[in-house]
């Protein structure tokens, strides 16, 4: 008689195996190998145009990897955007024709399984009342309870982003993707937004991926920082090689020198790209 020990490890929450992405002949990303645990807050920096948004798009299902696989809980990631992955973009994240409350409630209306819900995305009666309460609570949390009946165009940039975050979080997504969400905001407002996102992250325990231009912001917010950069560069064929994750840093073990190194690398790539554009 033999005893078999089943020692199968549970799959990683997210796993990327030799992931690459190319558009036609131009390679944007290559050879991304990494795993992510539930609840991590990953910040991503890199020269503009090096593929950070493309990486988020593969995570959201907006684009598909042309090489390798992206797994979520052991399964290939869905090829269409869905409720598991919430998103906040730098702009256009909220619906201009809905007021603040309607924007947040939309996510609850769309999931309702009644016929009217599926057809028209509307809630009635008790369900609507419950949804209104849930939305109001969330809006209070992001500090928009006084602006519930305003339209997005009446809000400041910071308030619009708060709204976009609340709108995404009401679906309780497993992953929250933020593509330079605070890039267009004033510095003071940005500090408030940092506070807010950290609070919400701690409270919901959702896994966050956030692209930022600001390395300091990346170090301040994240539990882990990724630097996207090209390891190889062919001056005559600038698109022959893609970027990959060149630094994967658990935050807390960082030194001033490292900040400067990363900044130096990223700036170098940026300038390099500019020169290629001009030549």
């Amino acid at each position: 008689m033999t005893v078999r020990l089943v020692t199968e490890k549970p799959p990683h929450f997210l796993e990327f195996k030799r992931v690459g992405k190319r558009y036609g002949d131009s390679v944007v990303l290559e050879n991304i190998n990494t795993q992510v645990k539930k609840g991590e807050f990953i910040t991503m920096v890199g020269a503009s145009g090096c593929g950070k948004s493309t990486f988020l798009k593969m995570l959201s299902g907006q684009e598909q990897a042309t090489r390798g696989v992206c797994l979520m809980e052991g399964q290939p990631i869905s090829e269409e955007p869905d409720v598991n992955r919430g998103i906040v973009f730098q702009k256009y994240s909220v619906f201009p024709h809905l007021n603040v409350l309607e924007n947040v409630i939309l996510g609850l209306e769309l999931e309702s399984t009644s016929l009217t819900g599926r057809l028209f995305g509307k809630l009635f009666g008790a369900a609507r009342k419950a949804a209104l309460e849930e939305a109001a609570t969330l809006l209070e949390k992001v500090g928009l309870d006084h602006a519930m009946h305003k339209y997005p165009h009446e809000l400041s940039g910071g308030m619009q982003q708060r709204l976009a975050i609340a709108q995404a979080l009401i679906k309780k997504p497993k992953v929250l993707l933020l593509d330079e969400p605070f890039g267009a905001l004033d510095p003071g407002i940005r500090a408030d937004m940092h506070q807010l996102i950290l609070e919400l992250w701690e409270e919901t325990g959702t896994t966050i991926f956030m692209v930022t231009h600001d390395i300091t912001e990346g170090f301040y917010l994240g539990t882990r920082l990724w630097v996207f950069d090209k390891v190889r560069n062919d001056p005559t064929h600038p698109h022959a090689w893609g970027a990959t994750i060149t630094y994967d840093l658990p935050i807390g073990v960082t030194s001033k020198n490292l900040h400067d190194d990363i900044r130096h690398d990223v700036n170098l790539t940026s300038r390099h790209q500019d020169e290629q554009l001009v030549s």
């Binding site: 955007p81 994240s93 201009p96 024709h97 769309l110 057809l119």
Partner: protein, 269 residues
């Protein structure tokens, strides 16, 4: 002295400058009309305002022998009815096809070249065909308006749908929207004010087609009347009618504009 491009009129100046061309045209008309009438009191080309007033009074009180309606109001309602039907049906068709072509790449691939080709067919050249197919009744006139403006409306609306930021489509899907809900909750409500804008733009063409169709075959209608009395050189009827059509066109345009502002407060141009 500031450059001409940097000079801004005050409120009062805007008002005066805006009114000036109107006053000038009226004055020139008065003088020219008076000069001609002095020379020949029977002159028909530039009737005096008093003559036009009398004619208008007659038209707004006298019944038509043919239909029994007051001529002026009968003409007005006949034209407005055709206009409303033509433009309304066009808008509905445009909504259907514009939304589908803008939203679904598959539909776009299939129908877009067709709409583009159809838009190139000169509608006036189709008028005889319409008269042959639909007869000389109301239908032909309404259909002329429809084929005249619908292709433009469809193409405009498709364009507007495609202008919706990619981000919105992704965001709505992450909130759980299916294709149908994307239409009903995201695209359609945002397209309504844009459709009204497109309709406003197409109204000029719609009037053109209406008057042309009425001129050729009708029993009543503003365009019919103008072309009927042309035979007698009845400028005293034609000029008030043209002014009236202009007023109606301006009112329709303003009505649509107000609807857009009231019903869609979020829609800022």
């Amino acid at each position: 002295m500031r450059k001409l491009v940097n000079l801004q009129p005050t409120k009062l100046q805007t008002l005066i400058l805006g009114a000036l061309p109107f006053i000038a045209v009226i004055l020139i008309y008065l003088v020219a009309s008076d000069l001609r009438l002095q020379e020949n009191p029977k002159d028909k080309l530039l009737p005096a305002f008093s003559t036009m007033g009398e004619t208008l009074l007659r038209l707004t009180t006298e019944e038509s022998r043919r239909t029994g309606d007051i001529i002026f109001w009968g003409d007005t309602f006949a034209s407005l009815e055709r206009m409303a039907m033509g433009v309304g049906i066009s808008a509905l068709i445009a909504l259907l096809f514009g939304l589908a072509q803008g939203s679904f790449p598959l539909v776009r691939a299939k129908l877009s070249p067709f709409t583009t080709a159809i838009a190139m067919v000169p509608p006036m050249a189709m008028l005889p065909v319409l008269f042959i197919v639909f007869g000389l009744g109301e239908l032909s006139k309404v259909v002329l308006i429809i084929i005249g403006i619908t292709p433009f409306l469809i193409r405009d609306l498709q364009q507007r749908v495609q202008e919706l930021p990619e981000e919105q489509w992704i965001k709505a899907q992450t909130l759980g929207a299916n294709s149908w809900q994307l239409m009903t909750r995201m695209v359609l409500p945002q397209m309504m004010p844009r459709l009204i804008d497109a309709v406003r733009l197409s109204m000029g063409a719609a009037w053109l087609f209406l008057i042309a169709a009425e001129a050729i075959a009708a029993n009543e209608g503003l365009g019919y009347r103008i072309f009927l009395v042309r035979r007698y050189m009845a400028m005293d009827t034609i000029l008030p009618y043209v002014a009236w059509i202009t007023v109606l066109a301006i009112c329709a345009d303003q009505l649509l504009r107000q609807i857009n502002r009231r019903v869609f407060p979020w829609y800022q141009k």
